[in-house]
């Protein structure tokens, strides 16, 4: 059997009222692949991830997770909305990491990481805690399990967010701008954690503005604009030889802004240097 994509998206559209946020997106994410999605703000990157996890209902098209249609059921008369329970079953192997972490502030770090295991996978408490600690160790926070989210730095909170997703042992993790809410000096620790996951072969879809990360870690970079995929390919190709004027413009804007940052003493690394290690 040919390996089936972990995520298969076909002709996906999403409309908010009369506004088209996504129009005709088709994209496959293969096992162990790391795909970075870049593009200007408002281009539909978050909406794409949210439809892929069915946090947002899509208007038409199909999203399949490991061969199972997400959110709808095929019937003779077309697609019918699926029950919450079946939606949960299909996205059971999809994890998500949010821009604003979205940790539960009334629970300890370990509580955050083990809640899903205990309630939805019915793992007994002791075993769940063991699994949770292992996930925390992966993000370098094994000594923080009894803290509350408010007692952590932003970077640490986001690593807890990653551990929370990891603990469920998903087959793919979706990241929506995981470092955008962080102070510049905290970005590195989160990106390092993600690099480590990529090395371990975890399938990842990462919406990011960190071009250095995309260049170094992605197997494929997807450029979106106006609710469409404009261009995609290996990072070296995409960053060094952009075909579409819109991607060229996007990269130029990024480069000029990056130079300002470097004058500021911050060095996120450039696309070129990352693309060819």
């Amino acid at each position: 059997m040919a390996t089936q994509p972990t995520i298969r998206i076909r002709d996906l559209t999403k409309e908010f009222g009369t506004f088209s946020a996504l129009s005709g997106i088709s994209l496959d994410i293969n096992p162990s692949e790391v795909v970075c999605i870049i593009g200007p703000s408002g281009s539909g990157k978050s909406t794409l991830l949210r439809c892929t996890s069915f946090l947002e209902e899509y208007t038409s098209g199909e999203v399949e997770i490991e061969g199972r249609l997400l959110g709808y059921r095929r019937t003779a008369s077309g697609l019918v909305r699926e029950s919450e329970q079946n939606i949960d079953a299909v996205r059971r192997n999809v994890g998500m990491v949010f821009q604003h972490f979205n940790l539960w502030p009334h629970m300890t770090v370990l509580g955050n990481v083990t809640l899903g295991l205990r309630l939805t996978k019915h793992v007994p408490r002791a075993k769940a805690q063991e699994q949770g600690r292992r996930a925390l160790a992966k993000v370098g926070l094994e000594n923080f399990s009894d803290r509350y989210p408010s007692q952590l730095s932003g970077g640490q909170q986001q690593r807890v967010g990653i551990a929370r997703a990891l603990a469920m042992e998903p087959h793919v993790i979706l990241f929506d701008e995981p470092t955008s809410a962080l102070d510049p000096q905290l970005v590195g620790e989160v990106l390092d954690t993600m690099k480590q996951l990529a090395k371990e072969g975890i399938t990842m879809v990462v919406v990011t503005h960190e071009m250095g990360f995309a260049a170094q870690v992605a197997d494929r970079v997807v450029f979106m604009d106006g609710g469409k995929i404009i261009e995609q390919g290996p990072p070296a190709k995409l960053f060094n030889d952009p075909q579409s004027p819109r991607l060229q413009e996007f990269l130029d804007t990024w480069k000029s802004r990056n130079m300002l940052f470097q004058a500021d003493g911050r060095s996120p690394g450039t696309a070129e240097e990352g693309a060819r290690p």
Binding site: Q85, F98, W104, L119, T120, R164
Partner: protein
């Protein structure tokens, strides 16, 4: 002067019995109101629209209706549809379902206070709707909703005085009896005021205790 206090001694059993009746009816009504109010607030967030409209209608009607009218309907109107309840039962259900509308609004504002992102994270962890309410929403909103809930229970205690009109032998009814039998005015009403105050104070203290417990 001695006689002045004598009346209190003489009527202490009647007044304390009234206090006890007010207390247990209010306690049961508050429990019923909290449970029914939580159920209403949960139903208010389901996808099925007619159910939501029914919940909204219930809340609007209860908030627009004087409690006395609602009690009359239950007590005097009930038998005509085969619902024959004794006065205490009408008191518990009447006050309980009346308060439920207010509790529902308190729960609803509590639910709304939880950031959407936290709920999305819970859905991605596979939690069901009820699990999200139980493990994510309720524990966080208790801190926020305990003060208005306690306030609502205190209002319930004071409003329970209307039960005297449908013949429940609660504190106000027994105070009236005290007045009628002795032609005294000061002693009965001072006693009633002190006893209501004690009950309200007890609820307030309970509220402070709960507030300390639910903080995280």
């Amino acid at each position: 002067m001695i006689q002045f206090f004598d009346l209190w001694v003489q009527y202490a059993p009647l007044m304390l019995a009234g206090l006890a009746t007010t207390a247990w009816i209010c306690a049961l009504a508050a429990m019923l109101g909290v449970v029914a109010g939580l159920a209403l607030a949960c139903l208010d967030s389901v996808a099925f629209a007619p159910l939501r409209w029914a919940v909204r209608a219930y809340i609007e009607i209860m908030r627009g209706l004087p409690i006395l009218i609602f009690l009359f309907v239950l007590y005097y109107g009930g038998p005509s549809v085969g619902l024959r309840l004794n006065a205490e039962t009408v008191g518990v259900f009447g006050l309980g379902f009346y308060a439920a509308a207010y509790f529902a609004e308190i729960f609803r504002s509590g639910f709304q206070s939880i950031p959407k992102g936290q709920i999305e994270a819970a859905r991605m962890a596979g939690l069901s709707g009820p699990q999200i309410i139980r493990h994510v929403k309720l524990p966080q909103m208790l801190v926020l909703i305990t003060p208005p809930m306690i306030n609502q229970i205190i209002i319930l205690v004071k409003e329970s005085a209307v039960l005297s009109i449908i013949t429940v032998a609660e504190l106000t009814k027994n105070t009236t009896q005290f007045v009628n039998e002795t032609y005294a005015v000061i002693q009965p009403y001072v006693a009633a005021a002190v006893l209501y105050w004690l009950l309200v104070e007890a609820v307030a203290q309970l509220g402070k205790f709960v507030e300390r417990r639910v903080r995280f």
